[in-house]
Amino acid sequence: MKKELVDLKINGRGCELAIEPNALLLDVLRQQLQLTGSKRGCDDSSCGACTVLIDGVAMMSCTLLAASCEGQDITTIEGVTEHGSLAAIQKAYGDWGGAQCGYCTPGFIMTVKSLLAENPDPSEADIRNALSSNLCRCTGYNQMYSAIRAAIQAERQGMATGEK
């Protein structure tokens, strides 16, 4: 298939890319841009490991045409770190055991970011509902809840770290 030029805005930076019109956003991120933080865990939007934010909304990049994202703000896990330091949610996931093998973690962090942007004070049920778009095979999710609560607390205190 003949390639076409598209302008994508990824993590605040514009980039002009030659891609096939049927190229999936996940493949463009991982293979062309080497942004390998977004993972492929399935092929059919069932696991959420590839979750990115499109204009702030959590979307699964494995079933999203890259060309359709022109003109939108794409945020990947690589764009979450703040000023070269861990964002509160990233620190908390590490401290509270929210990540074990870590393969699903970038997807979960994007999902949580989108949740907290929409609802800074989510209930337990809100958190569970939001997380149910992503699969984790290691943690049983329990420690993620502690991590998310710790991150909310840390953000509230205006701190970059979640002290335990």
Partner: protein, 857 residues
Amino acid sequence: MSAEFSIIGKPTAMVDAAGKTTGAGKYTDDLSLPGMLVGKILHSPYPHARIVRIDTTRAEQLEGVVAVAIGKDAPKTYGILPVGHDEYPLALDKVRYVGDNVACVVAISESIAEQALELVDVEYEVLPAYFDPEESMKAESDLIHDNKPNNLEKDYHHVFGDPEKGFSEADQIAEARFISNEVTHAAMEPHSTLASFEIDPHTGKPGRLTVWSSTQVPYYLQHKLSLVLELPMQQIRVIKPLVGGGFGGKSEVIPLEIIAAIAARKAKASVKITYTREEVFWAHRGRPRTIIDLKTGVKADGRITAVRARVVQDGGAYCSYGVVTILYSGALLGALYDIPNIQYDGYRVLTNKPACGAMRGHGTVNVRFAFESQLDELAVQLGMDPAEIRRRNLLKPPCITVNGLRVQSYGLSECIEKTVERSGWKQRKGKLPRGRGLGIACSHYVSGAANSIIRSDMPHSTVNIKIDRDGGVVVYTGASEIGQGSDTMTAQIAAETLGCSLSRVRVVAADTDLTPIDIGSYSSRVTFMAGNATLRAAAEVKKLIAAAAAKKMACGPEDLIFNNDLVSKNSRVGTAASGRPAEQGSAASVSGRVEGQILRGSLQQKRKEEGPKDSMTFEEAVVAAIDFHGALTGTGSYAPPPEARGGKHKGAGVGPSPAYSYSAQVAEVSVDEETGEVTVHKVWAAHDCGRALNPVSVEGQVIGSVWMGMGQALTEEMVWKDGMLMNPGLLEYRSPSAVESPEVEPIIVESIDPEGPFGAKECSEGSLAATIPAIANAIYDAVGVRLHESPFTPERVLAALRAKRQAKQLNLTEGVDPTAPRRFREHGGSLCFEGKGPERHALDPSRQAAPSAGGTD
């Protein structure tokens, strides 16, 4: 948390956490090399067929295709077990399951490779196939492997004690058939391998092979690559990047790992193969469908007199870990409770489905489901609290079980006590509203196998440590971090032993060129074995540092204490102990890493002037040791002690472990009698892990095990139709989502094992097996039906409820368990035997010797 340690026992974030939470950490599929090509595998569409002809011409002619590899490019068999070398990387003459590997196309892009797969012409002669293990065992022709009559991979027949006598002494006997359906690991990271050959400078031909792979066993992979590619092991380097979960699915050599190397050799270029999710399901190696005929006898006081188990495992088309799985199923009947008489007949059967292998709780899970369910039933028959019957059968360690397993540390009693207490068992059991119930079950698991699958005297783990002049500690370990916290455990043990801070320690792991041999991350062996090796390596280096430091401090090395980045004289030896803290502060800042050599030099000068000190910083002590000894390195290794290696009977090699973990769990469930849906509300899980080196990790492993067990109990099942997997995707193979996952309350029990590193044992697998029967027993408590087949789907629950209801309507006792809690016997008077006398009992089939009623469907 323990006050005697500064790092051990403290909640610690994983040392590799930042790489995982930022996405910067690299898994195999994240890697690429210049000029790298993509490999795609052609899989068999038939469950059993002879390959008559393969023609790759059309595929090779497609623009962008570089090579097509087929069976004869590497016609060597391999398998994870020395007795099970029955796989070809690419099929040579026969395919044995839908998904078997036939050819590999190497192309410049994934889409071209996929196109080319359709152009590989394969002519098959379809053979009769076997899907049911009990049918397969009767096969006389068209065997799956010619050297396996009756498609029987292996059978074992063990008798310990005198089971017949045991049953004759029993006051109550229960007997039933249990079935656990097949489940798979479904680790989030699909398997991936990148293989690359270097040109040998001397011969000018392809020489060394480097393989990056998502593996739990880099050393075994190196070994099998060497066999199949006919290259010496030193010509192969296996590197394990981050691994996105294993659970046993990456604990043996998976076809793509060898195929990638064969393809790279043929294409003369670096080749990466990553499975699609569907291919992961075909690669499988999960927990086999298991049919368990179980009979247990107990005395009126609850003591178990005998157990007889006949276990048939549907092993799939290749041996894989099968021989070990079927042995674990029998061996791990022992070591949890004191069972004086055991008879075990195990059959590992071949069928035309993907091979089953090792999965979390290897071999023990399905039999434990059957055993704990039956024990619950017996407790009810005896009118005994199910928690109490378990207490009555505790081992009295240190001891050796009837089947030769050595048990030393044993926290089961405390586990039972704590779960019972925390769950409010005594106050709530039997008193919850209809449809809601509590169930209890126990389990255990090995902390690594005492006998390696490769029989040799080689230590199972070896660790090297190097310390640099600035006090930076590098630990080289072959142990594989797969998300369980292996690297963090290693760093913690090294830091604690050396008395330095965790941030000084860097772990270099699982690279066969750099790290000494470790047989891998499986059977929960890493903490116990690699942990002990780390401890010994660190202790060796510490000796060197202590010798040099003692000289400087004018004392004996045995008088030194290493703690918090300080080496100081034991206070009973030292003189200036009281003034130390302030002094430490200033010393640490003067010799801080930023100031570097010049200041350190002047500090040494200052120290010389001041004479012997009561303490040195860790860095100063290291510098002193390096000045004295030269390079500062140490090695430690671990081999299980001979006493822990088990009995002498055939198959005795599997089951023995230097230590066993113990778990007791209470599950609270509710059952919707209209829909058959089971909801797990909470699980209390007490786990005896010896010592919790890192409570965050231990709790994470326990919760994860319970959660995975719940998946097998309620929703996870591989559904087959004529050898085709009907649900090869994460939407159809249903592991519980966040909404369906209950709160799990982990309760850490520390029995301090005499041989474990700081007393630690395994914590990653043992909890899984108890969850399934705990849920089954809770369902019984909730609605009075015993489920004999997992998973307990709404269909199976409804069928059991319907059987019970119909039996009532028809005034039959069949399908109804007369031992059901009284509240379920209140209606349909004929079912209430109370006061009706023995003539009613005689009519009750479930009171006769036949397998107990109340089956699922």
